[in-house]
């Protein structure tokens, strides 16, 4: 049993997540937004972008992340700063366009500069890896932390905030 434990503990070292600075234009660009329209991430170039990841049936971390985004939006509004808010779904299997539309409706997230994006699984995983969103899926649960990444108008990462802290 000791051997099993040693091997298991060795394998338990989490996969390193890339924390190297990534530009917005380096991320996969093809997504679908919560209106079912194609969304090209490159169209955000030249704008301040706030990006996070979430899943629609998360009731522990994501509500706090969304609260944080709301506060950030208010802060931007008070300073007269315009920004685009992007939320990429962790789980494209269950977080489809209809799920995000429902999510926005029930949480009154009606601002047009907020975009909830659905993408291919590989693209979701690539974004998570490039921006340091560590997550894993256990059946219908997505185990993850809260993170918000900000890009400046040149598409360069200027900060990465861990949110959802209690």
């Amino acid at each position: 049993m000791l051997a099993v434990l040693v091997v298991t503990l060795w394998a338990a070292v989490p996969t390193p997540v890339s924390a190297s600075a990534t530009r917005l234009t380096d991320l996969p660009s093809t997504w679908v937004d919560d209106r079912g329209q194609p969304f090209d991430l490159r169209s955000m170039y030249g704008r301040t972008v706030v990006l996070s990841m979430a899943y629609a049936t998360c009731h522990r971390v994501c509500p706090r992340t969304v609260d944080y985004l709301r506060r950030l939006q208010n802060e931007f509004d008070s300073r007269g700063v315009s920004a685009e808010f992007l939320v990429i779904g962790y789980d494209p299997d269950s977080d489809d366009v209809a799920a995000w539309r429902q999510y926005r409706r029930t949480r009154h997230l009606t601002r047009t500069n907020w975009h909830f994006l659905v993408g291919a699984r590989a693209d979701v995983e690539q974004v998570a890896r490039q921006l340091g969103f560590e997550f894993w899926k256990m059946d219908q649960h997505v185990i993850h932390d809260g993170r918000v990444v900000r890009f400046d108008q040149r598409g360069v990462v200027v900060s990465s905030d861990t949110v959802g802290g209690l």
Binding site: V17, S20, Y68, D96, Q102, R121, Q126, G164
Partner: protein
């Protein structure tokens, strides 16, 4: 809230992985990642050196051109002569660029123009068009290398898990013990395979009824995802009856409550239902307008009772019987967002191997559940009914039922919850009579979950349990649990 300002590349986890891999002489994946980093660093250094050299050569050319222009202007030379001189200078520059800096060809440390008396000041002229294109190409290559998606084999196998420890007036699963306890260390392996192949393994180190730590492969399933709405699994999985058994698994951190209901506990922890099945499982969901329909259908080995406990027959059956069932649920939307209702049923033949010759019971179970899961509430009601037929003693069909209602309120870090559960098991039914935990009972519990941070929680529960037939007794419990995920 923590804020990370990006600094150059070093990643502590990568170093930790590298150190582990080196010490064990394993994981070529880590070496591959380090090789890429080293190559990128080397390329960046070369890029810097090239830029520096180009700038210096451009300065040289500029100075030579200026000097030549002055000379030809003074001599009244023809324009053709100037062009020839510029061509010579360009050729010389190209030749110089081909020779790497070294002792025989030292790189100048100051701009030529600045060191040439009388020459006009030179401030970084743009590189020739072809050089610019080459530089752009090189930059793109470096960027692509830095941001390229890692191959699955380079990423290694992701592995996560849960653990919990506790203390109480009784052990939460085995009430004969009291004091401090370790409950489980649950490793969750989800290797990255192809685009449609899925795999899930759950390796659990847990304390058993004998107080010893044992290892169990709680789940071992490999599946193929046909589409977003259909995945088929083969292996050992959590039997998809009701809601709770597939929504919550061995890691107690994921659940609001401190423990599972008694009748839904895992088999070796006193559960009275077949929590695991070894077989084939088709599962998925389909949109119906704004609603979502979920479904499960499964078939697997029939089960047996040995040592008073249900066993899922990991190796296969000897009596050639099966267990099969289905579950259908509907996730609402609109004003009913968060509400899920569902029905399930299963049938199997259980062999009781604790008596000789073995006794057989046909178990038929029907269930219903209602769940309200929102940012504020986690409320679950689930009930199961049994009509079990004694196939050996021919004592007829016996009816039993078990269920629970749980209400939880998510109030920030604190999540208080209350639960009522009951198992009314007919003791004439050989299926329940043969199980150590097959007695009827009811339990009331009040508890609270306190989220210390995003990966650890402290839970406290006060419960009162009454045994109502095989034994007539009651006991109260005060339980504490520290649960984490990693």
């Amino acid at each position: 809230m923590r804020t990370t300002r990006y600094a150059p590349t070093t990643c502590a986890r990568a170093w930790l992985s590298l150190a582990l891999a080196t010490s064990l002489g394993l994981t070529p994946t880590a070496h591959a990642a380090e090789d890429d980093k080293a190559r990128i660093t080397e390329l960046e250094q070369k890029l810097d050196e090239s830029l520096k050299m180009i700038r210096e050569l451009s300065n040289k050319v500029e100075a030579l051109e200026a000097r030549e222009a002055q000379r030809t202007s003074a001599a009244g030379a023809a324009a053709a002569g100037t062009a020839a001189a510029a061509g010579t200078a360009a050729a010389a520059a190209t030749a110089s660029a081909a020779v790497p800096p070294g002792p025989a060809n030292p790189t100048p440390t100051a701009p030529v123009g600045a060191a040439t008396p009388g020459a006009p000041p030179v401030v970084g002229p743009p590189a020739p068009a072809d050089t610019g294109a080459r530089l752009t190409h090189l930059e793109e290559t470096v960027s692509q290398m830095a941001n390229a998606p890692q191959r699955a084999e380079d990423r290694g196998m992701a592995m996560h898990g849960f653990a919990d420890v506790g203390a109480g007036t009784h052990n939460a699963q085995f009430p004969k013990y009291q004091g401090a306890d370790i409950a489980e260390l649950d490793f969750f392996l989800t290797p990255q395979l192809g685009a449609r192949t899925r795999a899930l393994f759950e390796l659990n180190f847990e304390v058993g009824a004998d107080g010893e730590v044992g290892v169990d492969l709680e789940r071992a399933q490999i599946g193929y995802q046909f589409s977003d709405s259909a995945t088929i699994w083969l292996g050992r999985f959590h039997t998809p009856y009701g809601y709770y058994n597939t929504a919550f698994h061995h890691g107690q951190w994921i659940a609001i409550s401190l423990r599972r209901t008694r009748f839904l506990e895992f088999e070796d922890h006193g559960g009275t239902m077949p929590a695991h099945t070894v077989g084939l499982w088709l599962t998925g969901s389909q949109r119906l307008g704004e609603q979502r329909l979920t479904y499960d259908a499964w078939i697997g080995n029939s089960q047996r009772i040995t040592g008073g406990t249900i066993d899922m027959n990991n190796a296969g059956v000897t009596a050639g019987s099966t267990m099969f069932g289905g579950n259908i649920g509907l996730l609402m939307s609109g004003v009913l967002d968060g509400l899920k209702v569902g029905l399930d049923a299963f049938q199997t033949r259980i062999e009781n191997q604790d008596v000789a010759p073995s006794q057989f019971t046909q178990v038929q179970s029907y269930g219903a559940y209602v769940v309200y899961d929102t940012d504020r509430w986690e409320d679950i009601a689930e009930w199961h009914f049994f009509d079990n037929t004694d196939l050996t003693g021919h004592t007829g069909t016996h009816h039993s039922d078990a269920g629970f209602v749980q209400i939880g309120y998510r109030g920030g870090r604190f999540t208080p919850y209350g639960r009522y559960e009951r198992g009314s098991f007919n003791q004439s039914d050989p299926y329940f009579a043969a199980q150590t935990s097959g007695n009827s009972y009811d339990r009331e519990a009040l508890g609270v979950r306190f989220d210390i941070d995003l990966s650890s929680a402290l839970k406290m529960e006060f419960a009162e349990t009454r045994y109502t037939d095989r034994y007539l007794t009651r006991y109260g419990e005060a339980l504490l649990q520290y649960a984490i995920r990693f």
